[in-house]
Amino acid sequence: MTTAQPAMRRGAPGSGSLALNLMKLRTFIALFAVLAFFSITAPNFLSAANLILMSKHVALNAFLAMGMTFVIVTGGIDLSVGSIVGLCAMTAGGLILNGLDLHIGYTVYFNIFEIIGVTLGVGLLIGALNGFLITRLNVAPFIATLGTLYIARGFALLSSDGATFPNLVGKPEFGSTGYGYLGAGRLLGLPVVIWLLIAVALAAAYFARFTPLGRQVFAVGGNERAAALSGIRVTRVKMFVYMFSGFCAAIVGLVVSSELMASHPATGESFELNAIAAAVLGGTSMSGGRGTIGGTIVGAFVIGILSDGLVMMGVSSFWQMVIKGLVIIFAVVVDQAQRRLQQRVALRQMVRD
């Protein structure tokens, strides 16, 4: 979880104490623990095919969780991501299958790149709507995104009257074929999705650490008043994080519908909860100011591997839910313990100085 520390924090001297260091690495430890556990208990768990399959599952949640991480770091929450996934899946599916009916006797068909662009635009737009409600109209993030959760899901259902857009092979005459490549294609032996995840994760981690806007996300989350007084445009920062979250959700919508070669309006229901869980498991503080992209990715892998591994072991899906809940709560309890320990160490250091 060092990929995206908001600032240079290479091993502060004297912050030693083994327990503290172990706690700081807890997400990695958890990751290795689940990997080790399942490689012993579940047959074929460590086979390349299975690992790649799991990574593809994890990737969906990881995209959402990255967007969620920035939102949570600013002290907000984005409940609408699951619905954005659904709406974007329907957008892409509808455009491939039916084009855009202008209601004046013409229908516009886009090529596949335009469709992807429009879909990403829809995600950004709903993110911008969230940001607008939160920054300009002062709606609490929880409420604003709860509202857009329903709105986006409603439009997703309206777009097809609740039906599925099947068989998204596209039409060669409009250049809209090849949609399946995104979800099923491979590049240098790895699924395209995995490459996409790596690219977005690296970009996000770089952004958090080496761009002014990225740094400002952490400042705003840590102390909004101080950030504003330092000349940081808080509104712009918040607009950005919600738009990025919408963008990530749009990617997931594209990937899911591409994998299935079909769009269903219920796609992405309750995805937002998994994304929040991954971010929290990765050390993102719900009160803002703290969180890393690296941590969140690891968190997403822990959750994903846990559920896939339990399936392979044949554990009932009901028990899986109980176990997932326990892991999340345990992670937060350890997080709090680490804070306290860290404070004690800092105080001891102050006394020594």
Partner: protein
């Protein structure tokens, strides 16, 4: 000293209170008499609040004794003190804005009808009676957050009165009241006195003290410097006891000729919600290399003036010039670009992001300086950070350490460093020495001197007389939102500044206004 008499209900004997390293009160004696107004007076930081908190059981003395009705007593907490009949009205209001006036007055001791729950009707009736006595003009059912600040203060006083306290502590009760409300308060105080209540009264408004007080105790730097009957003293005596003769040791003024004008404000106004102005037509200027000290008491409008200059108050009017050019930017970021920078009074809430490292805090406001394209150059940033740490001698082993691990003085230096990295032309500093120890204070002051010598225009606000006298090239005094005096350092004297800082605050002038 007056001889002991049986009117004394509570005595503090040789009280000393030490907070992590700093001594707030040293061997202070204080007597509280029943049926009298016992005045406590002193500059900010003289130890009044500490003494008051000890009486109210909020703080426990490090050494010394509290005697109540001739018996030594040890208040374990505020509730314990309240059981012994001590009630306190803090300057910072402790009300629940989301609850009604009546609910606030009876908070924590609700009138109930057994299992039927809170008797709201009864509470509102009793609250109504209390408020009628205070002539507050407040409905018991109104939400506290809908009240003006003066009315809230009256609610707080009503709450204290409702406790039937034997000892009632009032900390600056008039600071938010209008002239007529002050008159009502004084009538209530007279009424309580007649019923034998002992009142501890803290205020900066000296004329008010002379009018309402019976006994006065003056504190300076945690020591009691004078105890008299009010009848035997005058304002000049109080000021003398407050200031003392020996001045604290501050770095001497480096003589340098100030340059051309760096900053000018014209007619800066900030309307108050309840009418009048929080900042009342303030026109000030400071030249390059000059330090302008704004002396004033809490609530004089100093911080609000700075807020207006930094465009943090949308309703502010007036004009601000930097180096002779009108500042038209309407947001903080724009003002910073124009060369203005503010060191806020409240470091924790407005100055620092305590979760982040020293380095991140230092560079927070000036990240664009380290950019290559859109990339923050780590090398450039590290260079700037280490230069900042060195220039301000911030004591930190590694700039990657969290800023919350630093001492108050070093935290303040980080805030100053952050402001300096924006290359300001004018530095606004609100109480730059608040909450830092003597050694760090001296360093901060030396830094201010050095920066001025380098050509920065500095305006700093303080409520510490010694500080303003020692550091400023010119001194402006603010009171009630207005500039009431503007003098060269050489022409300034302490008594004159104190008098100017009380202008428009005294009851007499308020009544006239």
């Amino acid at each position: 000293m007056t001889p002991p008499d049986n009117d004394v209900v509570l005595t503090l004997e040789a009280i000393t209170k030490v907070y992590s390293g700093t001594v707030a009160v040293k061997h202070a004696d204080f007597e509280v008499r029943r049926g009298a107004v016992n005045v406590l007076v002193g500059e900010n930081g003289a130890g009044k609040s500490t003494l008051m908190k000890i009486i109210a059981g909020v703080e426990r003395p490090t050494s010394g004794r509290i005697v109540l009705d001739g018996e030594p007593i040890d208040f374990t907490d505020a509730a314990d003190a309240a059981r012994h009949g001590v009630a306190i009205v803090f300057q910072e209001l402790n009300l629940f804005g989301n609850l009604s006036v009546a609910e606030n007055i009876f908070a924590g001791r609700e009138l109930t009808r057994g299992l039927l729950g809170v008797d709201h009707a009864q509470q509102e009736r009793r609250a109504g009676e209390l408020l009628a006595r205070l002539e507050a003009g407040v409905e018991p059912g109104a939400l506290v957050e809908d009240l003006r600040i003066g009315q809230q203060q009256l609610v707080e006083i009503a709450k204290a009165v409702s406790l039937d306290a034997r000892i009632l502590i009032l900390d600056e009760p008039t600071s938010a009241l209008s002239a007529s409300e002050v008159e009502i308060l004084f009538r209530i105080i007279g009424d309580l006195k007649a019923r034998g209540v002992a009142i501890v009264y803290i205020s900066h408004r000296l004329e008010e003290l002379i009018r309402i007080g019976d006994f006065i105790t003056v504190l300076r730097d945690g020591r009691v410097t004078g105890r008299e009957r009010i009848a035997d003293v005058d304002v000049a005596w109080i000021v003398r006891q407050m200031i003392g003769s020996a001045s604290k040791d501050f770095p001497k003024t480096q003589v340098h000729a100030p340059g051309e004008e760096a900053f000018r404000s014209e007619e800066v106004c900030l309307p108050r919600l309840s009418g009048g102005y929080e900042v009342d037509h303030v026109s000030l200027s400071v030249r390059k290399g000059e330090i302008l000290g704004i002396y004033g008491l809490m609530g004089a409008g100093r911080s609000e003036f700075f807020d207006c200059v930094m465009a943090r108050r949308p309703h502010a009017t007036g004009r601000v010039y930097v180096e002779g050019r009108l500042v038209t930017e309407r947001d903080v970021a724009g003002r910073i670009r124009r060369g203005l920078a503010l060191i806020p009074e409240d470091r924790q809430r407005e100055g620092l992001v305590s979760l982040l490292s020293v380095a991140a805090n230092l560079t927070m406001a000036s990240l664009h300086k380290f950019l290559i394209g859109f990339h923050i150059s780590g090398a450039r940033e590290r260079k700037a950070v280490s230069a900042g740490v060195r220039d301000l001698s911030i004591k930190v082993a590694d700039p990657a350490q969290e800023v919350s691990a630093l001492s108050g003085g070093n935290q303040q230096k980080v805030v100053i460093g952050k402001a300096l990295m924006t290359n300001p032309k004018v530095l606004l500093m609100d109480e730059p020495s608040r909450g830092i120890d003597i050694g760090a204070k001296a360093e901060v002051f030396r830094t201010m001197r050095r920066l001025a010598a380098e050509g920065l225009g500095i305006i700093f606000a303080t409520s510490d007389l010694d500080e303003v006298m020692a550091l400023s090239d010119r001194i402006a005094v603010m009171s009630n939102g207005r500039v009431t005096a503007l003098v060269e350092r050489s022409d300034a004297n302490e008594a004159g500044l104190v008098a100017a800082s009380a202008l428009g605050r005294s009851v007499a002038t308020q009544a006239r206004a």
